[in-house]
């Protein structure tokens, strides 16, 4: 059996309480996103970012027929997928992004140099840069970003360059045998943490149960999502198309394009070098 741990997020159980978002922010000492009112249902978080590692999506659906108006409210807590083949990990030029002993994708904050290449290499748009970052702070060193301390750290943080941030699958908690903060806080077990093989087994049974009850449910990422990405260590049970939840239907692992890209470049180099040689050679 695989040693990998991960999340099974069963969106049919999500009640949109955002306890996962709050627990994640608290445990990881992540700063607030401000209080912007988006008007997008109850979602004022909008997206995962360098300092937001759980994001609850709210989807309101209304359809009408002779029987009347049918309303459905989908809620789903999004998170880093901890891909089997992770675009961010492959792209990282410093080796800051590693696969740890729990087979989670982890960014070592003291190694990251803020180049931002992982940000554009994630097919799920998860990783982002934390603009200001104090490498000499505490633990994940993000405490320095908390509003109250921002002023006093202003000078030290200016020009510090920032680092990339995303879900660590609570590496520190896992090390001491704790469940990740979001899964611990989830009041409905919509977020389940454990060995991924066991979680997949459980997820498939759940789909069967829901199907028996007449609910159209599908798993996203329990099996290979295609494009070279492989199965996801954090996968989801959805009741609508992945796009509805802002998930790609066909993600692609960026590095799979390299052979074609290098070949095209090499052919052009050789062709132009040959042209140059013919122009510059002496008759």
């Amino acid at each position: 059996m695989s040693q990998a741990t991960g999340f099974f997020t069963d969106t049919t159980l999500c009640i949109g309480c955002k306890a996962c978002e709050v627990a994640c922010k608290q445990w990881n000492e992540l700063p607030s996103d401000g209080f912007e009112f988006t008007g997008d249902s109850y979602d004022n978080t909008s997206e995962l970012s360098g300092t937001t590692w759980r994001h609850v999506a709210f989807i309101e659906q209304n359809t009408a027929d002779e029987a009347g108006v049918h309303s459905r409210w989908l809620m789903s807590s999004d998170v880093c997928k901890h891909c089997t083949n992770a675009g961010c990990l492959e792209a990282c030029p410093t080796g800051a992004i590693i696969r740890n002993e729990f087979e989670s994708v982890f960014i070592q904050p003291d190694i990251c140099n803020g180049c931002g290449y992982c940000v554009v290499s994630c097919p799920f748009g998860v990783v982002d840069l934390i603009e200001k970052f104090d490498p000499h702070g505490s633990r994940y060193n993000l405490a320095s970003l908390v509003e109250a301390r921002r002023e006093e750290n202003k000078t030290a943080l200016q020009g510090s360059g920032g680092i990339a941030g995303k879900c660590t699958l609570c590496y520190d908690r896992q090390k001491v045998g704790f469940v990740p903060a979001c899964a611990k806080a989830c009041p409905t077990d919509s977020i389940q943490f454990g060995n991924v093989d066991e979680l997949r087994e459980r997820a498939r049974k759940r789909v069967d149960t829901l199907t028996e009850r007449g609910v159209a449910a599908q798993l996203y990422g329990a099996d290979d999502v295609g494009g070279g990405v492989g199965p996801l260590n954090a996968f989801f049970l959805l009741t609508d198309r992945p796009e509805t939840y802002n998930l790609p239907t066909a993600p692609v692992l960026p590095s799979t394009r390299q052979p074609a890209a290098y070949t095209a470049a090499a052919v052009t180099v050789l062709g132009l070098a040959l042209a140059g040689w013919m122009i510059f050679r002496n008759e």
Binding site: S160, N246, V252, L272, N282
Partner: protein, 318 residues
């Protein structure tokens, strides 16, 4: 592949999440644009310093110009790149590993090696011309000239590979076109820069050859970009339509390729007096360089727009 996104009415049937972006765009600004542009230039200069024939006095001069300018650019480029990292000393984190899967990692090592070769070849030039002690020319053995050209080919290539090997829909839809276009554009720019510098040095005997190579590379670049536009379909919209498409057509295609090409043909067919021809060559060169810069800038900025469109990210280019 792109026609999956093309059918009419697709925008109505594909639900998005409040039109929120699915992907994250690059946070890259002018420093990365300049880095990509100079990378292309350095790559092209690597080829020119090899092609120029040492036995001809004019080409001897061109060889020196190409080597010295390549070295200056190679020295300036890391400084520009690291300014984007906020804390420049963190550039060194890139040198703790070498990773074949990461174009950024291989590229940095390519740049380091290229700088070494360009530096040694520059020392050789300065030693031969007497600016440095003559014995120092032995610091650059002969194989460094083809090596600099080879590494130059890589430097010019990898910036395009670096963009296309991302999750960005626009960049990844051009996995063959962008690297090829950047290589061609790097060589047009390098021909233009060495032509400009040669004209300023009064070395106008190399102009024709450089301009012929520049026209071939420019035509190649134009053909690749034209094919990219057709191939990219929906994914290509941020680059080829609207104000940005207009800018790319005006500056990269018009000002940067077609106008210099016309001026270069004019210089070939008309027996212009020397000073007039020098001015013509200089103008053509400057225009080419502007076009090369705008190509990189458009590609980065359009990539930011592409990342904002969730519909381009649902089905990602293969």
């Amino acid at each position: 592949m792109s026609d999956l996104l093309e059918p009419p009415g697709r925008e109505d049937v594909t639900p998005t999440y409040y039109d929120r972006p699915l992907l994250k765009g690059p946070n890259w600004g002018w420093s990365v644009v300049t880095y990509l542009f100079l990378g292309g230039l350095m790559g092209g200069l690597g080829l020119i310093q090899l092609l120029a024939d040492s036995s001809d006095p004019n080409e001897r001069m061109l060889k020196r110009t190409a080597r010295v300018s390549a070295f200056i650019l190679a020295a300036a480029n890391p400084a520009i790149l690291t300014s984007h990292l906020g804390r420049p000393e963190r550039f060194l984190h890139m040198l703790r590993i070498a990773k074949l899967k990461s174009p950024m990692s291989v590229g940095v090592w390519g740049l380091v090696l290229y700088s070494g070769a360009a530096g040694a070849n520059t020392i050789r030039e300065l030693a031969v011309s007497g600016a440095l002690p003559r014995w120092m020319r032995f610091l650059a053995p002969g194989f460094l000239a083809p090596l600099q050209a080879l590494l130059g080919g890589y430097i010019a290539s990898y910036t395009g590979v670096l963009l296309s090997a991302t999750a960005n829909p626009l960049w990844s839809s051009g996995k063959r076109h962008i690297p090829a276009a950047f290589v061609a554009s790097g060589l047009t720019s390098a021909c233009a820069l060495s032509n400009l510098l040669s004209i300023l040095e009064g070395n106008d005997r190399v102009t024709r050859r450089l301009e012929r190579l520049e026209m071939i590379a420019g035509a190649t670049e134009l053909a690749i970009l034209t094919h990219f536009e057709k191939h990219a379909g929906y994914y290509g919209k941020p680059l080829f339509t609207g104000a940005r498409g207009e800018r790319l057509r005006t500056y990269t295609r018009g000002v940067g390729i077609l106008a210099p090409m016309a001026l270069n043909i004019l210089g070939t067919v008309l027996p212009l007096p020397k000073p007039v021809d020098a001015v013509r060559g200089a103008i053509a060169s400057v225009l080419t360089l502007v076009g090369g810069y705008i190509l990189r800038e458009s590609m980065i900025e359009a990539g930011k727009d592409s990342a904002r469109d969730p519909r381009a990210a649902f089905v990602q280019p293969a």
